[in-house]
């Protein structure tokens, strides 16, 4: 049962016929894991908090650095040197005191990741390395949790949703194979700040859609953005019947 304050706070989305009270309650009752509180994790966490996702679990082992602030908008100058998860918690709590926030300032071991994924309804991958991306994908498919995956660098971004609850959903490992360590980071290659805002916002939108069962999430589709020309491209993904991760599911 929503309080009067909640009805007012969330009124502009509750009035949407796709959402209504039922959708808002789904968000308020949801627990979401956000891995990485950097450029993508900032808008993801802020939009999910503002929309009223009831419980957020924030994971990042890094501290806020001056060079982050050009794009990691959940942090600010006064938080330099502090753990990103704590910085993010303060911003999100100010944005919406109605939600619960758990913070973990650590680099998750595969086992810890598995334990954590099992406790949430959905995972948003905002991390900056391939090893973690593949580990998150494995944990999500093992525990049947939908995964909203995003990545961005320079002027290019990629977003997809992998949902093990759907038998024909491919996974991250159907798209890319594990083992190639050709990872470029924003600190090495650069990134234009609104790019992570755009891709992170798409991730937040997809997470809300999946949680409230709205519309058609990006399952089986990879959305690419070339911000240089502002071209969006949608590519169709297929489940790999030989995939060592998702072929065991469904």
């Amino acid at each position: 049962m929503l309080s009067d304050e909640q009805l007012l706070r969330y009124s502009r989305q509750i009035m949407l016929p796709e959402v209504e009270i039922e959708g808002q309650e789904a968000w308020l009752n949801a627990r979401v894991l956000i891995v990485g509180l950097g450029g993508l994790g900032s808008p993801v966490a802020m939009y999910l908090a503002a929309a009223g996702v009831g419980s957020l679990v924030l994971v990042d082992d890094d501290d806020v650095d001056l060079s982050n602030l050009q794009r990691q908008i959940v942090h600010h100058s006064g938080r330099i040197g502090r753990p990103k998860v704590e910085s993010a918690r303060e911003t999100l709590a100010a944005l919406n005191p109605d939600i619960a926030i758990q913070t973990l300032c650590e680099r998750l071991s595969p086992q810890r990741l598995e334990e954590l994924v099992e406790t949430v309804d959905l995972v948003v991958d905002c991390c900056d390395n391939f090893a973690t991306r593949f580990a998150i994908n494995r944990a999500c498919f093992r525990h049947g949790r939908p995964l909203v995956s995003g990545a961005a660098i320079r002027l290019e971004g990629q977003v997809a949703v992998y949902d093990p609850r759907q038998p024909d959903s491919p996974c991250y490992q159907c798209l890319y194979r594990e083992g190639e360590e050709e990872g470029l980071t924003c600190s090495e290659s650069g990134v234009l700040s609104p790019l992570v805002g755009i891709i992170g916002s798409v991730q937040a939108m997809e997470a809300l859609k999946v949680l409230a069962n709205i519309g058609r999430p990006l399952v089986g589709r990879l959305q690419l953005l070339d911000a240089h020309s502002m071209d969006w491209r949608t590519l169709k993904l297929k489940k790999d019947p030989q995939c060592s991760v998702c072929s065991q599911v469904g």
Binding site: C127, I153, L175, E182, L184, S189, D226
Partner: protein, 89 residues
């Protein structure tokens, strides 16, 4: 002719703007491109001539099936798109 396009991320490093080739399979189209730009091959294929793990190829918007031999067939006007995994967050 089939059109081969590399994501901007690859184009920036390898100078590989969109090109059109007569080709019946993905492998044939790539070989034509490699003939013109030898640096591309080692970036796209591994030492077994299989698609590298961090590369994905789509034909007419659909992910290819054969990552080992790249035997997926092309239509005369197919559009081939080659992209690289991004890790930045």
């Amino acid at each position: 002719m089939a059109t081969l396009t590399f994501t901007r991320h690859l184009d920036r490093y390898l100078d590989c703007p969109p090109r059109s080739f007569e080709a019946a399979t993905v492998a044939e189209a790539l070989e034509r491109a490699f003939d013109e730009n030898q640096r591309l091959a080692s970036y796209i294929l591994d030492d077994q001539r299989h698609l590298r793990k961090n590369i994905a190829i789509f034909v007419d918007g659909h992910m290819i099936r054969d990552r080992r031999h790249l035997s997926d067939a092309l239509a005369p006007d197919s559009s081939i798109y080659v992209l690289q995994a991004l890790s930045g967050g």
